[in-house]
Symmetry: D2
Subunit: 352 residues, 4 copies
Amino acid sequence: MNFASDNWAGAHPQIAEALARHATGFAAAYGNSDLDKVVKAKFSEVFERDVDVFFVATGTAANSLAMTAFAKPGGVFFAHREAHMLVDECGAPEYLSGGGRLCPVDGPLGRMDPAQLDAAIRRYPAQFLHGGQPAGVSVTQSSEIGTVYSLDELGAIADVARSHKLPLHMDGARFANALVSLGCTPAEMTWKRGIDIVSFGGTKNGCWCAEALVVLNPESAPGMPFIHKRAAQLFSKSRFVSAQFEAYFADDLWLKSARHSNAMAKRLAELFEKAPGARLAWQPQANEVFAILRDDRANALAAAGARFYDWHAPHGADLKLRTGEVLFRFVTSFATTEQEVEKTFSIISRAS
Amino acid sequence: MNFASDNWAGAHPQIAEALARHATGFAAAYGNSDLDKVVKAKFSEVFERDVDVFFVATGTAANSLAMTAFAKPGGVFFAHREAHMLVDECGAPEYLSGGGRLCPVDGPLGRMDPAQLDAAIRRYPAQFLHGGQPAGVSVTQSSEIGTVYSLDELGAIADVARSHKLPLHMDGARFANALVSLGCTPAEMTWKRGIDIVSFGGTKNGCWCAEALVVLNPESAPGMPFIHKRAAQLFSKSRFVSAQFEAYFADDLWLKSARHSNAMAKRLAELFEKAPGARLAWQPQANEVFAILRDDRANALAAAGARFYDWHAPHGADLKLRTGEVLFRFVTSFATTEQEVEKTFSIISRAS
Amino acid sequence: MNFASDNWAGAHPQIAEALARHATGFAAAYGNSDLDKVVKAKFSEVFERDVDVFFVATGTAANSLAMTAFAKPGGVFFAHREAHMLVDECGAPEYLSGGGRLCPVDGPLGRMDPAQLDAAIRRYPAQFLHGGQPAGVSVTQSSEIGTVYSLDELGAIADVARSHKLPLHMDGARFANALVSLGCTPAEMTWKRGIDIVSFGGTKNGCWCAEALVVLNPESAPGMPFIHKRAAQLFSKSRFVSAQFEAYFADDLWLKSARHSNAMAKRLAELFEKAPGARLAWQPQANEVFAILRDDRANALAAAGARFYDWHAPHGADLKLRTGEVLFRFVTSFATTEQEVEKTFSIISRAS
Amino acid sequence: MNFASDNWAGAHPQIAEALARHATGFAAAYGNSDLDKVVKAKFSEVFERDVDVFFVATGTAANSLAMTAFAKPGGVFFAHREAHMLVDECGAPEYLSGGGRLCPVDGPLGRMDPAQLDAAIRRYPAQFLHGGQPAGVSVTQSSEIGTVYSLDELGAIADVARSHKLPLHMDGARFANALVSLGCTPAEMTWKRGIDIVSFGGTKNGCWCAEALVVLNPESAPGMPFIHKRAAQLFSKSRFVSAQFEAYFADDLWLKSARHSNAMAKRLAELFEKAPGARLAWQPQANEVFAILRDDRANALAAAGARFYDWHAPHGADLKLRTGEVLFRFVTSFATTEQEVEKTFSIISRAS
């Protein structure tokens, strides 16, 4: 019963197998192998558009280099107050972008409210030298709290960004989970709705280390090859990432894994709704479930060896926590089994 | 016959196998898994000292973060003119260290001359505000041109660094090749001779992606956990690196692979000494052979499918190139076979 | 009737005279002239402590270099939401500090609330790698909206900073105005209450360009000479700043000028309380008056040639603005005359 | 007899007078006063072209912000090995440009050799990711050792820069001295020969603090207003700089002062050629004289109260120093008197 995070899971067997398969033989380094080229072409196919792809070590790197590409002197980037960039990246976006500022934007359930985004941007009028200048917007899909922007909601964010002539980035650390949740195509969830560049994460969905910065609109990210190399993110044996992505895309493994994770989350949510001493904080839309448990139930679960984290209430959310209640996050992954989910329910139910 | 670079080789079967073996199950992320801890302890055992270990994506990252840890305002780092940091890292050390300067130091055959290092440092008197201030020294072992500092030569460099109170970094992208060349222990090649921090490379010696910054003297690199995370180099599924290093150190795989590479280089060098239309530029001491070939011989070799790069003459070297002669680099690796080496000789010999 | 800003005034005649007096003769550059030394000694006398003094071009430079001295990897600086650093410095603190983050702290009337400061710092637990780490606190005295921290309020902020082992900076762009408002000594308003470093502004109080970073606690700002020079802030003909400060401190010109400015502000405030169609937003404590005027009154005033700016309501303030009412800022300076103030009143009073 | 540096002189009486004259009254801050506008228009007149002008605190700031405007990821700037940026700016260009690299270029007598410049740039092939990318060229006029590029020599440098599509900066800390030495117009010495941006120094030529970044080709320096403000270089009471430049340009004060300095240097050089125990190192072309003195003569001079610095031999220069001979630098300024020069000669002549 490990719900600590989807990055606690290892690698999907097909990913591991692909790595082993490509281990032999010589191939050009630094992204120039035949396999690298095939995989990059695959990205263009997946996104139905010619894209540039840059493999990076971490989602933090992908996000930070997108901001670096957007950077201007005195530049300000706008993202949800709970966004990974703002909360969990140790200042990497600010550091790598040469001192850009991250401006938090509020909105319910982990999604920026377009009106609040617009208001936040307006506080930095483009030609007011003293305040700095807006430089870009970032949206997280799925969000840090397991919710998903609808296509129209993405479009509304993009409209605001476009009205201020700002490029738009998507932090897709859990891209696949959002995609299968919406049941749309990558193109529909990105450039068809105004996204210019994506942090495309494979690691949390069954890869070992497969993160890519996918540039959909090259005008939004000039100089990216040098930005990427200068940040010490250009792998020499790049095929070790390509091999993972090859397997990731083959036979829709990525979509199947995401569907499984989401289904496990949904099932877990249903059980929390039924379990005594437990309730859902909000409905999950991807692979993260936020539930409020009475602490005796949580203790029982932990005692049984389950792993999960307590979580802070999102800004502005009123969870109406009663004494003895705590908010917890449960993350599912390709490796989560139905048995684990059912066992979780059974322990909670028994706990009283 | 692929001598393009040791990063054109894939992964050693034992490395690939270890990755597959550790693919299942859940484990804590961000360097906190049991395997991570075991492997980090192994590093301390290997270095015969309590060391801090930070996995990074690339050798460039390792080098750059060492410089970042050394950085001071107006800081200057000293390295050989041909060092990777100066030639092949796209300004990453300058960028990541917040604008440090790399000062080239000369010395024959890829190794800094201690007197020249001393003179270079003296051009930045410690309290002359206008010039900036010396901040650190970096030595490459084995060097960019396949030579190796003897232990006494390392000690002489360290003496200069210490006399200026400067920390000393070793770029060990090919650490193992140097180590087996000298036939000494890691401790003897590093902290016993005054090295404070090492970029410990496993990738070129048979791993997929296994680079570590090994801090031998923690006073030389304060704040490294934050420096590391802020640079977007903290892997989430860190065990994918640990698994590689586990296999790397097991049964001395790393030393065996390096001995093999070096032996292949030595054999290739012997053959170049014998082959018509070829001569050695200098004796290899690790796994890189620099040879001067008549272009007809080089063409014949290339036509037979061999991969190798022409190279610029090192600063100050007088190779006495005659018309039609070109300097080439041949790199061997764990994957180089004796057959490839012999075939190379036979093609050159036949080429006239 | 110019109340646009205290930096719209020119130089006090005694400042101009000192510059002319020191124009002749040769003197060592870069802060090493006899006059520089005399003036720096004067700073130590003024602060009753051995201080280090660094002249800079702007208050933004002073603030930003203080943050640079405080900087850590992933570092976060805490200041009031309305602080100059956060609102008016175009990202200079972030840029010059190598990518530090500014975290806004709320509190009524331009002053941080100690409890809110403590809560903001606690959101960055010192050893939580992902979030970054607290690096320093900055307090503005007098504040951006003309209010002044009492000595006890400063002490309470310092207690919070100290409890988190954070250095404490004072943005003293209007240091003198706060000082005479409190009627205390520079020592009492700074290091005796826990301030480590001060941006000491002379420009707004009658100098041409006289800003100094005053280091009260050298441990809080190591390496400052290099930080200062590297930021291109080391004036060559430094005596042109020293000459200004010499006159500034002579015969308490700085205190007299500040008392005059504050008195003009107080008088203006009294008149706004009496004038029809006008009311004070809050009581001024230094040289900035914030008043709410009916727009017909404001228009009449502007039509008569008065200069003043409309202002945004401070975060969290409820000004109960009625239709047709606008918040305005009026800044007084050494150059403000009683006549201007009275004329302002008379125009407003007549305006209906 | 003060020949230590032209920044040891104070302010020219007309500069001091202008500052006093503009001290009274209110004027818009941050470069928006009427005087600021008049002076900026004057720059356009002086350069016979619409230029953008940014006042900065120091020549180091001007140079560094030019490089910042030129910056690219992994960018390399080319300047003479003895250039101020490389030797005397404490890493400010590297720091402020976000980690750019300065590449030294050789050439006799303080001037880059175009062929060597071309060779240096070619070592960074534009699309070789690993090496970084050329980003700009900087030429110092007059040079650090008192020599001046002819217009054709400037044109040759510009041809090299243009052939690599690189912008070209002129460090004109001693712009006026070079200008009157060549007897040409500012336009002829700059944009008519391919210069894109100038660090225009007034401080060394009789101002207190008057340095301007003059953008001749706006395409070479996009975003400069924000670059300037973000670097904490936007003066609030900007008219204190404008007042200096107003007087500087009025009645050709700047040219007259430079002609005087140069004439004093020329006279000093003639005397060194005649004086026993002294000889010129090379002919001065601006206001710096480099002479080789026997140490008894130098000691006599110093004992008589003269101020001057010993100097390192420029890279590659063979001064044929005999035992007891030392190279010294003598700098003249608007404040240097004929009496001082003659007295210097008389002391040296008497010294034996």
